[in-house]
Amino acid sequence: MIQYVVKRVLLMIPTLIAVSVIVFTIIQLPPGNYLESYIAELQAQGESVDQQKVAFLREYYGLDKPLPEQYVRWATGMLRGDFGYSFEFNMPVTKVIGDRMFLTIIVSFVTILFTWAVAFPIGIYSATHQYSWGDYGLSLLGFLGIAIPNFMLALVMMYVANVVFGTSIGGLMAPEFIGKPWTWDKVKSVLEHSWIPVVVIGTSGTAGMIRRLRANLLDELQKQYVVTARAKGLPPRKVLRKYPLRMALNFFISDIGSLLPHIISGAEITAVVLSLPTTGPMLLNALKSQDMYLAGTFLMFLATLIVIGVLISDLALVALDPRIRLQGGVAR
């Protein structure tokens, strides 16, 4: 067991290195050296350029060095908590980001909880009442959830909330909490404001999950042990609760791997529409203005979030499911 955990954690390292290489390549993709173009832009606007500062930045990030060395500097810098320099905001990336990453984690986490809370009962209902009207109706709803682009849903929800509840729901907390240290009240305010983004981000993920859970549970319900349990005279509810549901729970954990990238993608675009103080809007801006260190940091962060999420789900699965523990832990 411990062996498996260690192995799994170590396996994460090459993945993260590969991810960072890809991110670095993307940073380098825009033509030209961004420091030079930044200086050119400043000069074109008639602003003075602090030559000393430019020289320092060039030296510090090794911009005149060959690419592999630049990469090593950038990657090791990240390990020390230095993510590079944002040329648009003219300060280190770490300062620009603030608590955006933390808020992204919170929103993603709450969305996963929401997805589970909604998908679980509906999936079970659909599977146990296959081909009933309820099943058809819920399936249709689920398909609609997949088909409606979530940015449109966000816009419409925003409008509806504005008209019906008379509140502006842009943002993720009441204005008085912005930039304040984290207190209990602030957490409460964030939770109050986050339900619309959570619902919007969650719909498509929930719909997909319901479909997968339904298919999974249907397979499980046809297996012989279910027939045996029924033949022994167990009441249907108990059969369901005792056996197939537990298998389905497993699936819930392992499905994080496909759910998490989905949720994070959805969170980015929804955040742009609702202008949430998460990574989304800033990533978009950074990409548009080709502020590549900032954009690269966000990409790296989001990918790391997924890698860690999958790791956690794998470990939880091992803890939950003796079959994986016995086979995977030893044999793999």
Binding site: L29, I146, P149, V156, N162, S265, I269, Q290
Partner: protein, 393 residues
């Protein structure tokens, strides 16, 4: 001792019946015409029969056929051109088509519209002026265009009367007809999914095929690569890649660039399916036979192994088209996807980016309707196709 010998001899003789009819060796295996049809049907025919039973999938397939068909003759169907501006009708609301004028049947017609600028809200309003009915013309000559960019024509299925307008879905900020733009947008939005899936299909087949057939080091590398690509959230990576497409590229190059980017991240699922299938199939006897007869790997993979589950691959590829269409829509909505003058549904939705539009000009959100229809249709169609392609059900 057998029971037969215990019985009296006379009874045994009586029971021993020999038919005097001539012997027909094929009689036991004689198939009814119905059975023969079933057993001799090709795999594709079987799939088609199974697919036909899936009512929603058939309807979805028809919807898709109509939509793709419409892109061939967009110029005829659209009442206006993609870029025709009506400076007198900016942000005009959808126009109603009437049938009866003052109680008598006139046929489909529209009324004139007044232009009022509400000085309090600075909103343009276009109330109807029920004076003169302008009958719609059918199979008529209207806005001139170049059909497929080649032939000069001016034929439309429907056009407004001379001097009147026909904005069935309203107009946008430059006074362009939204309906026409949606019809033209279908060309880009629908083809980007097909083109993208073609690229990703090829990538998935080749890479997955190599990994599955050779195994070993190639397999390990491909598996790692897939894992790394999968640990990126799709949309942000799409955003990053499309944001670094050079600004100097022409819109048509950008179109291909975006398609490539969408495909670049999509092949992983297909490659995995191909790989796992090939890993199993390459141990089969018929593969060994082919190898012993001197077939090259490319022939074995392409000729002997892939056709066995091609139908299944195509079905699952159909299911990933909607993701691409949604991806393009999202990118263009954010303003880092396709660029005008190339017009897709996402580019159209780009105008509906803030809440004011929802409140004041809700018809600008209409391009989302075909998006939803196409996504739903592809999902149902792909589901039906997948069920039909599964030989074990």
């Amino acid at each position: 001792m057998s029971t037969l010998e215990l019985q009296p001899k006379a009874k045994r003789d009586k029971d021993h019946f020999v038919s005097t009819e001539p012997f027909d060796p094929g009689s036991a295996a004689q198939l009814s015409p119905e059975q023969e049809r079933l057993y001799l049907a090709s795999q594709w025919k079987l799939m088609w029969w199974k697919f036909k039973r899936h009512r929603i999938a058939v309807v979805s397939g028809l919807v898709l056929l109509v939509m793709y068909g419409s892109t061939l003759v967009t110029e005829f169907l659209a009442p206006y051109n993609l870029h025709t501006r009506h400076t007198d009708f900016i942000y005009a609301s959808p126009q109603k088509v009437h049938l009866f004028h003052q109680g008598s049947l006139v046929g489909p017609f529209v009324y004139d519209r007044q232009k009022i600028l509400d000085m309090d809200t600075l909103r343009r309003e276009y109330p109807e002026d029920p004076g003169v009915p302008h009958k719609l013309r059918f199979f008529c000559s209207g806005d001139p265009y170049r059909f497929w960019g080649m032939i000069d024509m001016s034929f439309h299925v429907v056009c407004p009367a001379e001097g009147a307008t026909l904005f069935l879905l309203g107009t946008d900020r430059l006074g362009r007809d939204v309906l026409s733009r949606i019809l033209y947008g279908a060309r880009i939005s629908l083809t980007i999914g097909l083109l993208g899936i073609a690229i990703s299909f090829a990538l998935g087949l080749v890479i997955g095929g190599l990994a599955g057939y050779y195994g070993g080091a190639i397999d390990t590398i491909v598996q790692r690569l897939i894992e790394v690509i999968r640990s990126f959230p799709e949309l942000p990576l799409w955003m990053a890649l499309s944001a670094v497409l050079p600004v100097t590229w022409s819109p048509i190059l950008i179109y291909f660039g975006i398609t490539g980017i969408l495909a670049l991240l999509d092949w992983t699922g297909l490659a995995r399916a191909v790989r796992s299938k090939l890993l199993a199939l390459r141990e089969e006897d018929y593969t060994t036979a082919a190898r012993l007869m001197g077939a090259k790997p490319s022939r074995i993979i392409g000729r002997h192994l892939l056709p066995g589950f091609m139908s299944h691959l195509i079905a699952s590829a159909t299911l990933s088209i909607p993701g691409m269409i949604l991806g393009e829509t999202a990118l263009s909505f954010l303003g880092i996807g396709l660029r005008p003058p190339i017009t897709s549904w996402g580019v159209l939705l780009n105008e509906a980016q803030n809440i004011n539009v929802v409140a004041l000009y809700p018809w600008l959100m209409l391009p989302v309707v075909p998006v939803i229809i196409v996504i739903l249709a592809f999902n149902f169609f792909g589901d039906g196709l997948r069920d039909a392609a599964d030989p074990y059900r």
